[in-house]
Amino acid sequence: MRLSRWLADRWVMIVALLVLGYLSLPILVVAGLSFNRPSSRLSYDFHEFTLDNWRNPCATSDMCDAVVRSVQIGFIATAVSTVLGTLMAFALIRHRFRGRSGINVLIFLPMATPELVMGTSLLALFVAAGVPQGFWTIVIAHVMFCVSFVVVTVKARLAGMDSRLEEAAMDLYANEWQTFRRITLPLVLPGIVAAALLAFSLSFDDFIITNFNAGTTVTFPMYVWGAAQRGIPPQVNVIGTAMFAIALLLVGASSLRGRRARRAALAAPVAAVGAPKSAS
């Protein structure tokens, strides 16, 4: 009787914990394997604990070149797609123009199209246009699919924003630029940051589209794919774990900052709250 009551109160949380465990198990395996000294090149068993992989993450110079290249592509693609996507989101939310609803549909196209189709058609385009494949064709391809995600993410944030706040700012002597700088941008910024993070992670791990348009350039996902044929060096797990840790730190830091600000604000005026003065 008491057990069933206990279960009834907590089953949602138990299910949530199970799902969370299911989601993080592969990541834990990767983190564990980053401390492994494999017995042979093609072995994935945990053989022996070592810090060698972490001390020397660039086992093969190819791998580190590929990581650096992926980060470069990721940064450029993120920057370009975030700026373009944010501007598009503003245009779609704030302005009424001919073809607006058409664009709203087109935005979803890169998300809905199979990557394989997009990769091959881009390749066909580049070949037909005589553009040599390499670093910059990868960037162009990544910007293309990242923009959609940025537009959708920023649009959602912008749509939830009360336009009366901007009117209030203008009423309080802020000109158009100051209104954008002081009110609109800070309020939309969380959406833009989320969009940028999403764009970077999409770009960093894309394989299919990249593989079609890379020419001889090798990105990190392509390196891992290639290495899998002859045995993955354990340092790949180091890179994976490090990326995960950085992402976790970023999210953790931002939520901690928000919580601290809230608590500080609540703690300050305790004395004044108790007895508001009478109206007279």
Binding site: L165, E167, A265, A268, P269, A272
Partner: protein, 394 residues
Amino acid sequence: MRQMGAKAQERDTPAGDLRLANLTKRFGIFTAVDDLSLTIPQGSFFALLGASGCGKTTTLRMIAGLEEPTSGQVLLGDRDIARLRPYKRPVNTVFQSYALFPHLDIHENVAFGLRRRGIRKVTEQVDRMLALVQLEGYGRRRPAQLSGGQQQRVALARALINHPQVLLLDEPLGALDLKLRRQMQIELKRIQTEVGITFVHVTHDQEEAMTMADTVAVMNAGRIEQLGAPADLYEYPATAFVANFLGQSNLLAGEAAGSAGTDVPVTAHGVRFSVPADRARTDRGPVYLGVRPEKLHLVDSVAQVPSGHQHVEGVVTDASYVGVSTQYLIRTGWGSEISAFVANTGAGRQLPVGAPVVAHWDARHAFLLPREAGADSDRTTPLLDEQPPVGALS
């Protein structure tokens, strides 16, 4: 950017009256504000009263600069500000939803206007302003951490700190509960007297408008129906719309045939009444004879009607006891219903439903309004069905 003056002295110099001249705003084919002209004297508390969609908020937004008029002028003193951007007008607004900036704390919300005008030392002024609205010590909080009433006061402080020449209030008390609203009404009136700024207050709450404003303008369909002191509007309304929107009225449909000396005789439903000529908006043709429900006195028989009083005979069909008074519905001999409020002084007795009564009033309390030919039935607020269930108690 600086022409409204960064220095307090310059800003405090009286700008003169706010005048709207032939102000019109059309959205497509819909005319929201129709050739509106009015003068709001400097330092007065002015209320724009009307039902939703009557154009009062559009008028306010045109004064604030958030809406550009289709034609007409908004004059502050001698200067036409109708085409200036909102941030170039010495006008501030308290928005209906308060529109506090959620990412800034209360101190920065209040300081926003000062900072945009390049004033660096704001702390002292902000603290003084927060004290005025009784929110000392709340500066570090975020808007979401305050109650509705507190947010409302922050919105007020944020606007007032700029010493605008005109303060616009867009239904600022609509979101508050009744008790808080009453308190804020008194508070707003006190602050207005203290700072001496012109307040333009938009509301659909007639009681709120009458409590607070020196002058009330009743708006309907983009036009002003009547403008005046609350008591004048209430005691002697100019149109049937005003008579029904501002408080309640019994309007009897009748015909007037020109004044006879100091009185205007009216025939309604075959009964002859008379109204003093100085209480008649018209003395000829189709008219409404109006009497406020609280001006009606109820007695048992015609013999008890004092001389100089007019009367109507009827039967009580509904009695609602509301504490301070009892509200009766009385079915007249010709079938329509009129409403009467009897103050609960403890002197009279409660009349039961079905009791025959005579309702009488001092002729000087009645008023005569023009009636559109064709609007033949009586009008009583709250508007009643043609045949309400007899004897139904609310």
